[in-house]
């Protein structure tokens, strides 16, 4: 009895460690880092073979992890580059990764707002006008089968000739990608109320606007947030793709492009990690907004 009592807290802690969230996440992260290091040895080995033959195993591995232009930089190299360009560089400098991230994020966010508004408007129209579902939806789907890498330069060049450069053209590419999941999700969401919930509105002889605002819209909100999570992530992709054809002045896309011009793989990977981090942060912000909104609406926890 006493032994059990003494053991209980310790085993409880172990339990929460195994069944909690941090432990599985940590295991996966460790596994990825391990695989990354192993892959770095394998990929960078060819760079060393000719340059310095006759190295010991230890030195050989060390060398694969410290190349200046490796095929695959080791994690610590990427972290060092991130540290240098984020913490040790002034935020206003063109060398600051934070500066470049902000350039990309600002156009991604603007595109997200444009795209979401367009997506919601299209969904509302499709739900209310039956013929639009047949006439408009195929075009909406077709728009997404066009490879964005092919469309982006056309948009950038066309808008550039009209005098529109910088933030807006990039955000239009983001919006072009963004509106799609929002439209699809919202069509589903706005039509999600049960027939009797709609009949109820009919018995009150509620007009279209009242039915939209008091029934369809709140019923669609969970779908909207699911769409937002997809949309905000691809808005970042759109902004990065939009930065590629402009000759790469600023932004994460520019860092990727410059890095690949000069074989700066460490810089490319640092930009990739930055993009992934920013995307994760934006998605979790949407998740937070979702939780707040839905709990405000009294959704069963």
């Amino acid at each position: 009895m006493t032994t059990e009592a003494r053991l209980a807290p310790a085993s409880g802690r172990l339990q929460s460690l195994v069944h909690g969230r941090s432990f599985p996440v940590a295991i996966i992260v460790l596994a990825i880092i391990l695989i990354w290091y192993l892959a770095a040895i394998r990929l960078n080995a060819s760079l060393i073979g000719e340059a310095a033959p006759g190295l010991g195993l230890r030195d050989f591995i060390g060398a694969t992890w410290s190349q200046e232009r490796p095929l695959l930089p080791a994690p610590h190299q990427v972290i060092a580059e991130l540290w240098k360009t984020v913490a040790e560089t002034s935020i206003t400098s063109k060398r600051s990764l934070l500066y470049h991230s902000w350039v990309t994020v600002s156009s991604a966010l603007l595109g997200f707002v444009f795209g979401s508004l367009l997506g919601i408007l299209l969904a509302v129209a499709i739900v209310h006008v039956k013929s639009l579902e047949k006439s408009l939806l195929p075009w909406i789907i077709a728009s997404q089968t066009v490879p964005i890498l092919a469309v982006a330069p056309i948009i950038i060049v066309a808008l550039g000739s009209l005098g529109l450069v910088g933030l807006v053209p990039k955000s239009i590419i983001s919006a072009y990608l963004c509106f799609f999941p929002v439209t699809i999700g919202m069509v589903k969401g706005l039509t999600s109320p049960d027939p009797i919930e709609l009949d109820l509105m009919r018995t009150y002889s509620a007009d279209l606007w009242q039915t939209l605002w008091k029934l369809r819209w709140p019923a669609a909100l969970p779908f909207l947030f699911a769409s937002f999570k997809v949309a905000i992530a691809i808005s970042l992709v759109g902004a990065i793709v939009g930065e590629l054809p402009t000759g790469a002045q600023a932004g994460l896309g520019a860092r990727l492009l410059v890095g690949s011009y000069y074989g700066q793989t460490v810089q490319i990977w640092a930009a990739l990690v930055a993009a992934a981090t920013v995307a994760a942060a934006m998605v979790s912000l949407v998740g937070l907004a979702e939780r707040l909104t839905l709990s405000e609406m009294g959704v069963k926890p």
Binding site: I196, L200, R202, T203, K214, K300
Partner: protein
């Protein structure tokens, strides 16, 4: 209050026409409590939906309070209680009852007065701020009745409102509904498939049968308005219940 003359409704399906209602004539007077009873597929819900203008008849005429069903609906002359409570999950009990009042443009003050009055009427005081999922099935259905009554329609259309509830809850809700009908002197059309429920609540019982949906018998039911559950043991009650059952049998409701 309601006058239906030779109302028929036919659905065209891939397997040929389905006769949901065939030549139904019925009149309901002001202040009556009329139950429609019959097996599933007899068109009792369809008839109620036609009265409410949720469905259009293929032929025949029907008037609600001297108006066409559509006009009556546009003038918000009836309250409708569905099989399921159909409370909006993102609204509290109070705001669910407020919903029709918001739509119909009552003033904020009037909305609050009416919500409070109707919450009291269905004994949901203290549950105003609860969300539907926090209530039992019986309480949810009471909230939906309060919602239907909130804008004070003279006609109440109820489509098997207690069908999904257990018998004990159903008994208590039947008593409450009877009291409510007695106090508010509404006209009620009530769809059910329970014989005791129909006999206990109604002033008249309309027995219907399927394929095609039609009226077999209309039975008067003259118990005092403030009846108690005990009358269900009396000879008169059992006699009426027996006649309802005979009607259902005559309509082949018990055949396979």
């Amino acid at each position: 209050m309601i006058a239906a003359n030779n109302v028929s409704l036919t659905f065209a399906t891939a397997d040929g026409p389905v006769y949901a209602l065939s030549d139904v004539s019925l009149s309901v007077n002001e202040g009556e409590f009329v139950s429609l009873i019959g097996p599933s597929g007899c068109g009792k819900t369809t008839l109620l939906r036609i009265i409410a203008d949720l469905q259009k008849p293929s032929s025949g005429s029907i008037s609600v309070n001297g108006l066409s069903p559509e006009q009556a609906r546009l003038e918000r002359q009836y309250g409708y209680v569905f099989q399921a409570p159909a409370l909006y999950p993102w609204r509290t009990v109070e705001r669910n009852i407020r919903l029709p009042l918001e739509i119909m443009g009552f003033s904020r003050q009037e909305q609050s007065n009416r919500v409070a009055r109707n919450i009291e009427l269905v004994n949901l005081k203290g549950f105003e701020k609860k969300y539907p999922w926090q209530l039992s099935g019986g309480m949810q259905q009471r909230a939906s009745i309060a919602r239907a009554l909130s804008f004070d329609p003279r006609l109440l259309l109820m489509d098997e409102p207690f069908g999904a509830l257990d018998e004990i809850v159903r008994d208590s809700l039947n008593l409450q509904l009877l009291k409510l009908w007695h106090e508010t002197s509404k006209t009620v059309v009530f769809v059910t498939h329970s014989i005791p429920e129909a006999v206990f609540l109604s002033t008249r019982i309309v027995v219907m049968s399927p394929r095609p949906g039609r009226i077999i018998d209309i039975i008067d039911c003259r118990f005092p308005r403030d009846r108690s559950l005990e009358i269900r043991e009396t000879k008169e009650f059992l006699a009426v219940a027996h006649r309802v059952r005979e009607g259902l049998r005559a309509g082949h409701s018990y055949d396979d």
